[in-house]
């Protein structure tokens, strides 16, 4: 796999009130990004348990993004 074709699998943990809404807005504005990014909604980034991050890596994530 070359660096040009590598699409990292990224999990984004997003706060319901801000980052998740921002991801929705990106949709309304039709801003394109790779399909390999998936959002998991949290009620607040305070709910992010470090276990979730570790589990994501364990399952095969290349990157984890926390936004809130």
């Amino acid at each position: 796999m070359t660096s040009e074709t590598f699409q990292p699998n990224i999990v984004a943990f997003c706060c319901h009130y801000c980052a998740y809404a921002a991801a929705d807005l990106a949709g309304s504005m039709r801003l394109e990004y790779p399909t390999s990014l998936k959002v998991i909604e949290l009620p607040c980034t305070g709910k992010l348990d470090v276990v979730y991050v570790l589990r994501a890596f364990e399952d095969g994530a290349d990157g984890v993004m926390v936004a809130g």
Binding site: A21, D24, S28, E32, Y33, T35, P43, D49, D59, G60
Partner: protein, 1536 residues
Amino acid sequence: MRVELVGGDKQPVGAVMVVGGGIAGMQASLDLADQGFKVYLVEAKSAIGGKMAQLDKTFPTNDCAMCTISPKLVETGSHPNIEILTNTEVREITGQAGDFSVHLRRAPRYVDTSRCVACGDCSNVCPVIIPDVFNEGLAPRHAVYKLYPQAVPNAYAIEKRGIAPCRDACPAGQRAQGYIALIREGRWQDALRVIKMDNPFPGICGRICNHRCETACNRGLVDEAINIRALKRFVTDKVYEQPRQPVSAALRTQPQRVAIIGAGPCGLTAAQDLALAGYAVTVFEAMPVPGGMLRLGVPEYRLPTEIIEREVQDIIDLGVDLRLNHRINNMDEVFEQGFDAVLVAVGAHEGVRLPIPGAGLDGVLVNTHFLRDVRLGKYSDGAQGDAELGHNVLVLGGGNVAIDCARSAVRLGREVQMACLEGWGQMPAHEWEIQAAQAEGIALHPGFTFERILDDGNGRVAGVECQRVASFSFDERGRLHVEKVPDSTLVIPCDTVIFSVGQRAGLAFIPGDANVGLTDRQMIAVNPNTLATSRPGVFAAGDCISGTAFVIEAVDRGHTAARSILRYLQGEALEPAPKPELPVVRLSPREVEERLRDGEIHRSGRVPLPELPVEQRINSFAEVEGGYDEQSAQAEAARCLACGICSECMSCVFACGREAINHDEAERFEEVRVGALILAPGYQVYNAHLSEEYGLGRYPNVVTALQYERLLSASGPTGGHVKRPSDDRSPKRIAFLQCVGSRDQSHDYCSSVCCMYAAKEAIMTVEHARAEARDGNGAADVHCQVFFMDTRAYSKGYEEYYRRAENKYGVQYTRCRLSDIKEDPQTKNLQVRYAAPEAGADGMIEQEFDLVVLSVGMEIAEPVKQLGRTLGVQLDDYGFCHTTLFDPLQTSRPGVYVAGPFREPKDIPETVVEASGAAANAARLLAPARYTLANVQEYPPEKDVTGEATRIGVFVCHCGSNIGGYLDVPGVAEYARSLPGVAHAEDNLYTCSQDTIAHIIDQVKTLGLNRVVVASCTPLTHEPLFQDAIRQAGLNPHLFEMANIRNQCSWVHSSDWQGGTEKAKSLVRMAVARAARLEALQIREVPVNNTALVIGGGAAGMVAALTLAGQGFPVHIIEREAELGGNLRRLHYFVPSNGDSGRLSPQEYLADLEQRVNQHPLVTTHLSTELIDSAGFKGNFISTLVCQGQVSTVKHGATLIATGGVEYKGREYAYGQDSRILTQLEFEALLAASQSALQGLKSVAMIQCVGPAEKYCSRLCCTTALKNALKLKELNPQTDVSIIYRDIRTYGFKERVYTEARRAGMRFIRYDFDRKPQVILPDGEGALAIRVWDLGLNRELELKPDLLVLSTPIVPAKGAKELASRLKLPIDMDGFFLEAHVKLRPVDFAVDGVFMAGMAHYPKFLDETIAQAQAAASRAASILSQEMMLANARVAHVDALKCVGCLTCVRLCPYDVPRISLDFTGVGNILGAAYIEPAICHGCGSCASECPAQAIQLLHYTDVQLLNKVDALFEVDVQSAFIPLESVEDRRAGQL
């Protein structure tokens, strides 16, 4: 003002109307709706949000404005007790406080908000482009639009200004603006569709229409009208060069049959309409070809036969039965053939032969026959010897048909002349036709009568004898009277005469007894509205009722006749119902000028049309006029001014999959009954175009601050990268000009917010530049310079913020008012010149900037002033709503309250405060009617699904084409079916449509589903809808999960079908994995104690107590002093204010307030009492009080902190060392107490910003100093007053006090903290001396005043800090209580159930304190008005058996909710475990993720639910990844 309700004991109406959907309107609505009132929120725009939604960031926290307002928007939009009425205005109110009738005008939105899913398909196809008002004109927008991406209601709207004049002028109502816009976009097919909606003959009209549209066109005001006819022709040329698409026959749905006599444009139009309406139509035509006059009257060179044939064929192919060569001779015959209705549209084919001698000679022809014969090929080219048509042709007549005859004869190789009655300039033919005829060599003889036709001796024409006309006229019966010039006989030699002096219908087939009446002029008589003749079932239209007219009129009559026949056949009244019409848009020259100035329009004449040269055209019947090519057509189309805004091109209607658009929606007038009104209509920014010296509009790089907000905003036109309008470059030098439209000759007030927003915009500019430099996209060196007079940083955190702008962000502040700006025409940079002490010889500095931002002030918009007048509330000279000091939110009309800048310019927190305060006023008026009109939703009993096998239903939405157009929706549904636990999966066109919702409910019941997943748009807007649906099906709403495959999939991966489909499958898999572990959660109800506890008995405390007690809530006031009154007791005067004379003095007001408190049966006052402890949570507090050693407890549902502040007394400026040095309050007392003490007082000096005020602005001191100085001047006019100040911060209307003080001759000396004034005390009896460096004069002054008054600030009350720690409430750096959110929760604490008001929050004036006290009361009432409080179900839950009591959660919780409770036993049976009260847990989950013992789970977001989602994302076997976890409900049951 206490208002007595109508009729005493009559119950008021439990509804409130809030006018204005900005932040104030939303807050007032939410407060009232939460308290059990029905709220109608009226907004003039298509969405709520107001000005705040347009802002980028908010000061002083730099929070994103949209992020902070967005939750309020959603809450307002989804509140069951709030009905949002957009596009609505108040027209009138009747009735009185407690029972008003409000008359509303609801302008059409044209989009049904209940159907619209905000997909934007309509906007994508809308061809109309106008400046986007939300983006302050910096970006384009379509006529169908959503105000902004996050708009609530989340739906589109269509803007119509009216009917474009082109459409209005067209008899057939052609939507010229619409097809022109589509041509501009290169959408030829769509353009043709628009034309054909109103006119089946676009190719024909594109050639021969008399285009009245162009005469009416507003573009004519700019330069030349749009060449509309040529554009229409262009479209048909473009489309017709493609092979003709077959037209499918219309479906016959009606039993009746219609006969149409005449296959001309009128008859065929009606045939088309009736066929499309489902009727069988037969057209009888006497001639061998269809088309009527089009085919037989208009020469080929103007209208090619192929065009006619094509357009006629489109109608015939609808299934119309065309019978050619079929002359109808008898009307009865038609009915005998079984037709139910007949349309006579026989045209006017009979040419008129004047009854003059010689009219019967050979070689005398009539126009209609001649033209018909030419078209039917009777005279082939060069057939000069043809017996009938000689060589020298004279056409008699001056109309268009005469010219057609003449030009046709030219093309047959004849010598042609024309003669007519009318003189030059009077001929009825179009000017361009006359010119074309002359160019083709036709000789014209205007102004002659035709006396007789001369015989050549062989019975053939030899010439026409004419006489010159002096004048002519027609009498009332249409008869001609001519006055001839004597002896002016002229003979025009010719061998052929063609009469072209009029036409009439051939009505031979109508027998006299057919019951169809005729007119005097041998036309069929009809009712002009219905086109019905005197015989039932017979209609007539076209030239046979009107005489010759243009084809477009025939089309119009054809449509009208068809509609009339439809009504006749359906048994309806024949007269059409009157339809409300939009106004015709006529642009004023002024508007045109403004649009030219603003660069919206540029002058450019018509794009020229190619034309066949004369030498080519006279030899053939080839078309004379050429058409546009694509490029020139688009250029011509781009000149359109889009007058009507929406052109009704119907593109949106075709695009909308939800059938949400209705262009025929009309305005509605409604009447609503409410008990009270709250006016929160907001402000408009000053129209800075009026300050021409700044060049807004003329210079592209001068923008208003609101435009600059949009340039900064990430969702703005430049995507958050500041670019200057002229060249899209990042500006590096930006000037901010303050007080544009404030503090000037036409505004005697300060707009209160501009200083701070300029500081914010400057800070954000620097932040943006720094961020771009970090990303390597630009340099960080950006220079911001603010030109200002005084910096009004007067509120909490503002002073610090302003200094941060200067010190940390390098914003340069220059104190001057610029008088003009000049533009460098090359670079478009802007030059300013100003006087400065540091400048060189001429004292002037010249600077150049890339961009200038005008800090525009606040004004009241004209419609708002009109609203005020309509409601009969008193307004001031500027249109602001007048209120009084003691009742700041009460308008002059009882029952009508006001909030926000409509009352006085103000910023967001104060606006929010007033909104809640106004709500409290309305609630007090209407308290007895609480819950009488509020909505209650009923649901069936909930089904217990515990222990059931998982049966998940998955519903995948196409969202029209919004999802389905970009990924494989049926494939996703198919995939969902394969997932474990899924019992059913399906795809729906629109899952949120009413029918699908009903279907989901049905499926849940019939298939026994116990979990539901919807894969569609975003849960932020749609989760409540689907949860409601499953509740209706008997499921707990928490058994629902959404997969966001639109906003976070199809919309962002629109170019990747495969990838988007795979991601959608992943998102559905994740949702299903979580859904499998979802559990039913119970919403707990907690009883509420409806008593309030108010801490502090000053003005704030007393007003809050009375506001609550007035609504029926018991109140306890505790006051540590022995009497009520607080700081109010020390005030003697108020700031003078116009229009408020005769009001009470501070002490009279205090006495009144005290009396009302003491007499109120629901208020209990505890003097000399302190609070020593408070426990519990919102709705259920227990507080311990101590009064002179006596301890008592009070149970209450809400707590209000109103502990006030005190005047600071420190050692600065030698205070306390000399009796001549006083504080302002001491000086006020002196002014009040002894006028004798003032005798002989020659001079007084005041120093502003003393002690702590060097750190924060105490807000009151400037105004207080001016108030006392003015009082002194009033009492002792000869005393000199010097005010030593830094900035005079008389914000809002207080500016008037400053103006008055300057007029009264006060001396203002400006100093800086770098060089503070020095107070020199005399050694003995001598005078006080003050040395100060005057920055205005730039030199040191020495003053020797008799008195020195120090403007010391308000500091927090003693004991505030201790109280804060007892109640676990936060305080800020300066010791004032800290609100939950500086902008939007200004009286709330982060801890629920505790509120604040007055100077405990920050120094403020009495009216501000009163408003804030009312606001705090309103917020408290939101709790106290509930009998039971619904606890959030998604809360943290502690498994006590795992808790080690480590206190992590207790310390971590931002809301201070967890406690160690002795009611529980933790790990190892040790007494005490964490307890989280569900009623007050906010559900953020911080405790759950940090708990080291993993004893806490956040319900609905449990670890297993979230980890399932992560595992499912990576397709890790979800089943094996399950953490065994017993049901939360079981654990709870076991534990409690």
